[in-house]
Each structure stands twice: as C-alpha cells, then as structure tokens.
C-alpha cells in the first residue's frame, strides 16, 4: 500500500531530528507557529502526526502564541472512532497554516449533537462541522432490483443529511462539510452491483451524486471521500480488521492522507489555497536542457515517453490556468533561449501568452520567485514552485518556507500526478469570481480569446471599451511610478532607473513634462501601465528621457494615444520638436522600432545600437485607437517654463 498518496510523497521526508525538534519546541518560550508549521510540512505518518499534535496542544495550553497560524474551530461528528483522526487533523492543519481546534463529541452522537440546540458541538459555535460518517451510519439496506424502494432509500438518506445540515445551521450557524460515501469492497453480484437498482453500490452512487448537488446548492463543503478511497483503492481504504478491532471507519494508515484532505478544505475556506504555479523549464516543462540540447534536442513530443511525461506537466498547467491559476516561469537560463521553445517548438502546449511572468536569468530562484510574487501582487504563500532539481527545491524551501515546493519522484512520468496529489489548489467552490480573482492575467487570456472572434484589430480594440487616463506625476502615483521605472525592462526605451525621490523631483520641476497613464477596459482596471518623462532641450524641444509601458497592454495602441497626448501638451507649451532615444539592452528588443512606428525620423545610430529620433510637432498626425481619453491634473504650461 506504499504509494504517493498513502505516504504523502509530495512532502519532504521527516527529518532525523524530528523528535528532538518537537521536544525543543515544547521547551521553548518563543512563539511556535512557524516552527510547528515547518515540522508539520513533512510526510508525517500517524504516530508522528499524533506527536506533533500533542506538541501543538501543549503550546496552546501553555498559552504560547501560534503566530502566523490562522485559528479555526472544527467540530467532527462521526459514527466511528476518530481519536486518531483528531490529532492528525491538528497536525495536517498546521501544515496548511491553520491552528485547528477540534470539537470532538462522544462516540457516535451525530444526530444527537446536531439536533440538540445546546449540545457540545452547537454550544461551541464551531466555524465548520465535518460529518465524518460512512455508509454504516446511514439506514441503507439492499433492495435488489426494486428501483422504487431504492429511490426511497436514497431519498431517506439525503433527507437525513439535509436535516442534519438544517439543524447545525439553525443551532450553530456553522458551515457543514459533507463526505461522499465510499462503498464497501465486497460485492454481491459482481459487476452488476453497479448497475442493479437497490444494490448498496448503486444506492451509494446515487446518494453521492445528490450530496454533491446539495453542497453546490447550499454552499456547504463537499469532501469527496469516495473519490479519495477510489484513488488509494477501496480494499485498502476499508480495513475490516480495524473496523472490528476499534471501529475505525477506514485504515489508520490512511489517516494522515484523510487529514491532509480535510485540512486543505479548511485552508481553502480561509482563502489559503494557492493561486500561482511557477514552473522550472529544463527537465520539468521539457526533457533535457535547452541551453545545451537546443530546440531539436529537448524532449517534448508525442510518441516519446519522456516527452509525453513533460507534455503531461504542460497539459496540467494549462488545465489549472483554465480554472484561474496564474502560470509563471522561473528558470536558470538565458532569457531568449528559454523563450525559444515556447515560440518555435511545434509540440509545445504552453506558449508565452499562457505565462503571466517569465523569469529566465541567472539569479537564485528564491529571488526570482519573490519578484514573480511582487509582479503578480500575490503573496509568497500563494505560490507553488515545481522543479525537478532537489537542490533548487531545497534552496527555495529554506529561503522561502511559505512557498509550496512539492517533492518530485525520479520519474518525470509522475510529476503531474504528484503535483495534483499535493492538493495545493483545493477549491471549495467555483464561480466566475474565481476567474476574476486570477486578475489581469486571466483577463488577458480572455482578451486574446476575444481577439480571435472579432474582425480586425481596431474592431477588437473598440470592443474592449477602453478608457485611458493621463495625469502628470503626483504624490498618489509616486510609488507605482518608481516601481514601473525600476522593473520595466521590455517596453522601456532607455531603461533609466530613478528612485522615488528622483520621481518627486521631476514632479516638482515645472520644466519637466511627465505623464502617468492608466488604462481600464471592459475586463477591469489595468492600473498604471505607462510612464513618460520629457526633459526640456534646446530650441523648444522636449527630449523624451523615459518612455516605458507594461507589456500587459501591448498591442492596444496605447503608445499612439500617449504620443497624441504628449503632442497636445507640447503644442500648448510652444514646443516644436520631440526627440527620443532608444538605448538597447538585453531585454528591450521589443521597442527597437518604437519611434519609427510612431513616425519619428531617425537622426543617428552609434556602434552600441543606440538610436536617436526626432518628430516635428506641427506636422505629426499619430494614428489613434478607439478609446475614451481622460486628461486631468495638468496646469497649463507657460512659455517661460521652456528653456
């Protein structure tokens, strides 16, 4: 029965000093939340889970703060022995950032606890109630071949569960967590059990389907125990010896797995599910090393076992993305080389437009993951990092313990399964809200979708219902302006970095013309997406010192609108000529033709690739795009502000 699931193999192995660390934690006066969570974040077996839970309980009793862990009160109602499950739940919850307090009534008191208003469970006012009941807890008899009686049985069970839910709702207001029922392994007819109305399996199938529907309707939480039991094997799940010996509803070996699944649901209820999958590239997204093996050498093709293993990772990433999980890349590579397969390899499923943030460089991965989280405005604790290299995994775990980093087996064939077995993206509901939460990046995906449906770029742009807002630099925008100046690489003509103090001095200098640009569209507000700084030059000229834009809004003619805005202010200020510079870097090839596209004439080019451009203000007629323009906060510039 030793397997990925049974042994929680996505978690690092229990360290040799586990027992010593538990003892040390018990003796410590320090806040213990982080250390207990770190200890919990291993592949604990039942005994180790119980030991850790005892330490957590001791810390709680001694009044030591469980810093960083979110409190949650869970009542567990069961028809079976849950004395080992309760501590395992506490340990698994700590792994997921939850300080779990379990309310455990006496054995087999499900209905009594639910229906009595001042029962132990109801008076404890738990956050949630887990109905940890199995098929033995419900009145279910076989009625072979009698469809009508079977339907009545099913309705009877569902009515019972609904009445439990109504009672808990009325008496304590708690969220209910309902389990589906794992059918017994013993069959009566054989295969026919599934189809024959009135067999236990057939009735349980119907009940499970209705429990699912009921939870979707009421907003209560579904725990698919049947699915979990099938995953590990029904015969291993139902340990008949342990039922007889101590009324264990399922094998004690599987308690850590069961507890982790409950903890995922609780964490999801507290908004702790992960939001972003960060992928390593070499030997994770494809087989081989792109920098060494080249585009033809990497393994990523149908018909090749290694290639198909990595394709499975890509397929999974795409499926996760389709439900709102943001994808990012973090790879030690030359950026351009790392992007090549995404752009040019015919077998790749993942394309650059699926990747919200792409970090291929030689920085350490912890630094890159931090940068990715910042760029996405997501917490480090929303990140999952998938990497075949145990050294990189170890480094990220050490430097960024709140990033989820699954252990991976040697065989790439199991990467995708291992990632899903870890349950990082557990959801208790799926609504359009989820897609919204994935934010700008998911919106971008929808924009691409839309682009395919409408004819022509301008029609597409018009359908976006865009509003562009221009303002000069100001105090509210200052921090974001500085951030864009310091992190924009690709759409950045000069890549000049300025501090927030520098930004303020441009803001205060009446001879400098500045723009901060925001863009909203039918999908939402993109926030500030472009920054311009024009410095006064000689002979009524503005020199465009800085022009940068977020790549999120590429292809929207934002740059054309920006030029139109600059020209208008230039005219008002008596400026007759704009000059611009392109300073080449490793990352800004994107804008090498920026000024040419906007109608500037090239003035010079030097050996480094630096080009100078100029535009006559009076004659300029930039191509604009259909969008609403708001221009606010500008004081009319006077002639004498121009040097």
């Amino acid at each position: 029965m030793k397997s990925l699931y049974t042994e929680l193999q996505w978690l690092p192995a229990v360290p040799a000093d586990f027992a010593a660390r538990i003892k040390a934690a018990g003796a410590s006066e320090q806040p213990l939340g982080r250390e207990l969570q770190a200890l919990a974040n291993h592949a604990l077996d039942l005994d180790q889970s119980i030991r850790l839970a005892k330490a957590i309980q001791k810390a709680r009793t001694a009044g030591h703060p469980l810093d960083g862990l979110t409190p949650f009160r869970l009542a567990v109602l069961s028809n079976a022995t849950i004395d080992f499950i309760v501590p395992a739940l506490v340990a698994a919850a700590a792994r997921h950032g939850i300080a779990l307090e379990v309310i455990q009534p006496s054995y087999d008191q499900v209905a009594q606890e639910a229906f009595t208003p001042d029962s132990k469970v109801n008076s404890a006012k738990p956050d949630a109630v887990l109905f940890a009941i199995d098929y033995r807890a419900v009145p279910l008899k076989p009625v072979f071949g009698d469809a009508e009686a079977a339907a009545q049985n099913v309705q009877g069970v569902i009515a019972y569960l609904k009445s439990l839910q109504a009672a808990i709702k009325a008496n304590s207001g708690a969220t209910c967590i309902f389990q589906t029922f794992a059918p017994p392994a013993e069959s009566i007819f054989g295969s026919l059990d599934r189809a024959l109305p009135g067999s236990i399996k057939n009735q349980l199938n119907a009940i499970n389907a209705q429990i699912g529907e009921f939870c979707l309707e009421t907003g209560d939480v579904l725990f698919d125990v049947d699915g979990l039991a099938q995953t590990v094997g029904i015969a291993d799940w139902h340990d008949v010896r342990m039922w007889n010996m101590g009324k264990f509803a399922f094998s004690p070996d599987l308690i850590p797995l069961y507890a982790d699944h409950v903890a995922r649901l609780v964490a999801a209820l507290r908004g702790k599910s992960r939001r972003c999958l960060i992928l390593d590239l070499d030997n994770t997204v494809w087989g081989g090393i792109i920098g060494d093996d080249g585009l033809e050498g990497i393994k990523i093709a149908q018909g090749d076992a290694v290639g198909e293993a990595h394709l499975a990772v890509q397929k999974l990433a795409l499926d996760l993305r389709a439900r709102g999980i943001v994808l990012a890349v973090c790879s030690k590579n030359e950026d351009e080389i790392a992007r090549t397969p995404f752009q040019s390899h015919p077998e790749m499923l993942l394309r650059l437009n699926h990747i919200a943030v792409f970090h291929a460089n030689w920085n350490d991965k912890a630094t890159n993951i931090k940068a990715i989280a910042e760029e996405l405005s997501l917490g480090i604790d929303a990140m999952v990092f998938l990497d075949d290299n145990p050294v990189e995994r170890g480094l990220v775990r050490k430097l960024l313990p709140s990033v989820a980093v699954p252990e991976l087996p040697e065989d790439a064939a199991l990467y995708a399964r291992t990632l899903t077995a870890a349950g990082y993206f557990e959801a208790v509901a799926f609504a359009s809200e989820d897609l919204k939460r994935a934010g700008y990046y998911q919106d971008n995906a929808r924009r691409v979708q839309l682009q395919k449906q409408v004819e022509g770029v301008d029609a597409y742009l018009a359908s976006l219902d865009m509003t562009i807002t221009f303002q000069p630099f100001n105090a509210p925008g200052r921090a974001r302006i500085a951030q864009l100046i310091n992190k924009s690489n690709q759409f950045n003509l000069t890549t000049r970095r300025y501090t927030e103090t520098d930004v303020q001095s441009f803001e205060d200098d009446p001879s400098t013309f500045t723009l901060q640009v925001r863009l909203a569209d039918t999908f939402g507000d993109n926030g500030m997406i472009s920054v311009i700084i024009c410095k006064p030059g000689s002979d009524a000229t503005w020199e465009i010192d800085t022009w940068l834009m977020s790549c999120r809004v590429l292809g929207r003619k934002v740059e054309n609108m920006v030029l139109a805005e600059i020209l208008e202010h230039a005219r008002r200020a008596g400026i007759t000529r704009l000059t611009g510079t392109f300073l080449p870097t490793e990352r800004n090839k994107l804008v090498i033709q920026h000024y040419a596209k906007l109608g500037f004439a090239q003035v010079s080019e030097d050996a480094s690739g630096r080009t100078e451009w100029a535009l006559d203000v009076a004659g300029a007629q930039p191509d604009t795009a259909p969008m609403r323009v708001i221009s606010q906060g500008f004081t009319p510039l006077k002639e004498n502000t121009v040097v």
């Binding site: 005892k54 010896r241 004690p252």
Partner: protein
Amino acid sequence: MDAAEIYSRLTPIFQDIFDDDSIVPTAEMTAKDVDEWDSLSHIRMILAVEKEFSLKFSTTEVGHLEKVGDLVSLIQSRA
C-alpha cells in the same frame, strides 16, 4: 529473533505511545501497570509494533494478548 532484541525495539514504541520515557516493557507487564494504556493506545501500540517488525497480526492473535510476554512470543513466532 531473540527476546532481548524484541524488548529493546519495543521500548521506544512503549515510551512514545504511553508518553512516558521511563517505561521499560517486561514480560509480565499488562495494561493495568501503565496509566496511559487504554484500549485506544493499545491499538496504536499494536499498529506501531506491526510497522516496526513488518508484520500483521490477525484479529484472533490480537485478542489473545494478555501481557507483554505474549506479544513478544507472538512476534517471535512470526519472525
């Protein structure tokens, strides 16, 4: 496997499960001699012993255990 080795491997299991670092299992020891030894910790102990010695006891075998000496004999008979 000789009994002494079995006892030495049982000791940490007993100390952990019955939460007492001073417990040393002996042949005549029974549940009555240990505060924490109730029906649940008994089952936990059986599971831990099965894991330690990589074997599974039958329901009957577990039912016949009266004292630690019985457990040791059972392990010996199966090893």
